[in-house]
């Protein structure tokens, strides 16, 4: 049995230790926000936070998440309040098909947690997830907008 905490809830899962965290979340715990795009840590559609760090869950064995905290897109909103990044994503109509977007949002949230006011270069370096629909320009705009909101609410 492997114990992990997903979005604040404890779970015990009886799976192979090498099973990727992504598939434990999706197929065992029915947490469908993280998506599968490549399976080799290239696309970032599977991005979740492991103890606050963004990771590509398709390439993290579940054993590495044992006794740690996993946060997925489903756990981002707090008490019914969307995270400022989610709000900015709605305001700027970022998603197209949306398939990459839970990964993009988790990557953006992680960036803003470390860097309150990221420059375009910071965004370039942090946002390496693939969006096949090509929403990159709006992702950039929305991150800047969310950074502004975060600054004004926490000032």
């Amino acid at each position: 049995m492997i114990e992990l905490t997903v979005n604040g809830r404890k779970h015990n899962v009886d799976v192979e230790p090498e099973m990727p965290l992504l598939w434990v979340l999706r197929d065992v715990l029915d947490v469908k926000g993280p998506k599968f795009g490549c399976g080799i840590a290239q696309c970032g559609a599977c991005t979740v936070h492991l103890n606050g760090e963004p990771v590509r869950s398709c390439s993290v064995p579940v054993s590495a998440a044992a006794n740690h905290k996993v946060l997925t897109i489903e756990g981002l909103a707090q008490r019914g309040q969307l995270h400022p990044v989610q709000k900015a994503w709605i305001d700027h109509e970022v998603p197209q098909c949306g398939y990459c977007q839970s990964g993009q949002i988790m990557a953006a949230v992680a960036l803003l947690a470390k860097n309150r006011d990221p420059s375009d270069q910071d965004i370039d370096a942090a946002m390496t997830n693939i969006c096949r629909c090509g929403t990159y320009a709006r992702i950039r705009t929305a991150i800047h907008a969310a950074a502004k909101t975060l600054k004004s609410t926490k000032a």
């Binding site: 192979e16 099973m19 990727p20 598939w23 999706r26 197929d27 065992v28 029915d30 469908k32 926000g33 998506k35 599968f36 795009g37 490549c38 399976g39 080799i40 290239q42 696309c43 559609a45 997925t72 897109i73 489903e74 981002l76 909103a77 969307l82 989610q86 994503w89 709605i90 109509e93 970022v94 998603p95 197209q96 098909c97 949306g98 398939y99 990459c100 977007q101 839970s102 949002i105 965004i123 370039d124 370096a125 946002m127 390496t128 997830n129 693939i130 969006c131 096949r132 629909c133 090509g134 929403t135 990159y136 320009a137 709006r138 992702i139 950039r140």
Partner: protein
Amino acid sequence: MAKTFACKFEPARRRFLKQSAAIGGGLSVGFNIPGALAQKPGAAVEINAWVVIRPDDAIIIRYARSEMGQGSMTSAPMLVAEELECDWRRVKIEYASANANVKRKRAWGDMASVGSRTIRNSQEYLRKAGATAREMLIAAAAQQWGVPASECSASNSFITHGAGGRRLSFGKVADAAAKLEPPKDVKLKDPKDWKLIGKSVKRIDIPDTVVGRQRYGIDVQLPGMLYAAIAQCPVFGGKLKSMDASKVEGRRGIVKVVPLETFVAVVADNWWRAKEALRDVHIEWDVGANGNVSSASLMEFYKGGLDAQSDVATARKDGDFEQAFGSAERKIEAEYYTPYLAHSCLEPMGCTAIVKDGKVELWTSTQNAEASLAVAAATAGVPLENVEVHRVQLGGGFGRRGGAQDFVRQGVAIAKAMEGTPVKMLWTREEDTQHDFYRPASLVRMKAGLDGSGKPVAWYSRVAATSIFETLARVPLKRPFAPADGVDPQSVASLYDLPHAIPNVKVEYAQRTAHVPVGFWRTVGHSQNPFVRESFMDELANAAGKDPYEYRRALLANSPKDLGILEATAKAAGWGQPLPAGVFRGIAETEAYGSYTSAVAELSVDKNGEVNIRRLVLGIDPGYAVNPDNIQAQMQGSSVFMLTAMFWGEITIKEGRVEQSNFHDYRMMRLREMPKVEVVLAPSGGFWGGVGEPGQASIAPAVCNAIFAATGKRVRSLPLKNLGLTLA
């Protein structure tokens, strides 16, 4: 009725976006048809196939196509709402059921989201459906008041009588309205009176996406469901010879190994176990006759098409090309090549199905629910009425999920082998890259003759490529569908319909069918031929010593729409104005999918071959612009899609199989490479053009023409990585 299939999976937007078939209570193999709604007292009332009204004034508008990010789940219902005169804030959108479409003699018409045609092809019947419902609601209110309908009007979900201002909400009269005979002829609004069309309306599916609640095919979860991973014969057209699954027998979670004609499926209690076990199944393939095909042999094959004297069809013939070319002052000839490309939808192909009691239910990301239904019925051997295709959002489509439906055939075949148990089949990225229906490779020979003033008097193109329509869609290449018998309209798109004033034109098509399966890839023929045509046009301008913009302008004098978008885009880009040292411009223009597009690229190329695109100005005239912000998004997305393809996109073949496998060797553009894209939206009105695909058409030639301006090197073959160029 068969037993209700209790289902944990709910369609996306479950609070307000229920699938029609599910409204009557639970997803069931019996399928409730939407028409049944009208019979329930106090329930929602169907006014017509597209409009359902609830007593609390919620308006349900049905949507028959597929949402894959192109935004038509919002823009198609906008057309209904515009005429219905309802309160858009209270509109809920629900998918029309593919099963009901069979039973109700295609009440919702074509369900396919392909060819950028949702708005173009359905705008009239959608607006009429809204107008018809509005007239029926007005008539019902008028009857209730005992006044002539002509004294009443509808607005914002209310019917009002004359100056007195008596009002009734739509919900109050819906029941009575539904019983009236629909009017035969309804008048549609004058475009100047539109309230919704032309406004940037928020896309309805986005709020669910940002909280992870959007449901795609891959997300379906059913009680007792098993999972399948598959391996297909790596050489197209090959078959399974034998397999040995003894190594995985009894392994944890493995339920069954299913050998089928062209693939092997491992069925397990989760997908990862199935996929891992598949690696230990020993499979022998009979690769057939194509085990020696390579990219080099394919190139020879297409070259043969360029030189052939027979098996060539003429797509267009104006004047006498040979004579005019023979006597031309200057002759220019060139060959252009565009490669095979994969779709790489971020959600890999998949299909979840249950076959039970002679019925089939499936959940799959499809661009054509009717085609999925038909393929499922044929595969399971059941009548069409016994199949339902539950609708989900698509994790990208780009043409991959429309015509082929191979994933449905496989999913249903596996479910049939596991009869009674729902099975979710999912491909790996490797399968997805190596078993696509690729954008065809195409080799084109161009010739032009110029007169003394540099004007083209003779123009020739011959295209050698595999036909998508004949090989995938099995549409015979016959007139009037084809420009001429034996010509695939996509293979010669933007060449045979060349709008320029050139007196002697000859366009030929050498259909050459290779074993590599081809399919519709976003923008299809317009993803490659405008690169050929507009680059070659630049060659002519250069030979004539003319400015490439002015050169095009002169030739488009009699094509006002082409000319209009060319001029609007050039103006926005500041064509002709001085640029900093080392920065150069390129321009291109073409019609595609009923819209007119143009692009101006502004870039520099450094000594390492890094192309720095400072600005990409992208113009489009779609006639009417239904949802402008969404068009903006489509243009930006088209830029990424085309830049990805033109810099890196290339599927190569070795020993009959695809060499690329995943994103490490089939590269996608990333955020840091995204150039500044400025969209020039110039709707001139009077027609309905597409917006999902046209944006790509002018980009590659504009960029390559700017590269020529910068380096003096003419790009005649893509991708640019093969020429040592990369995107900075």
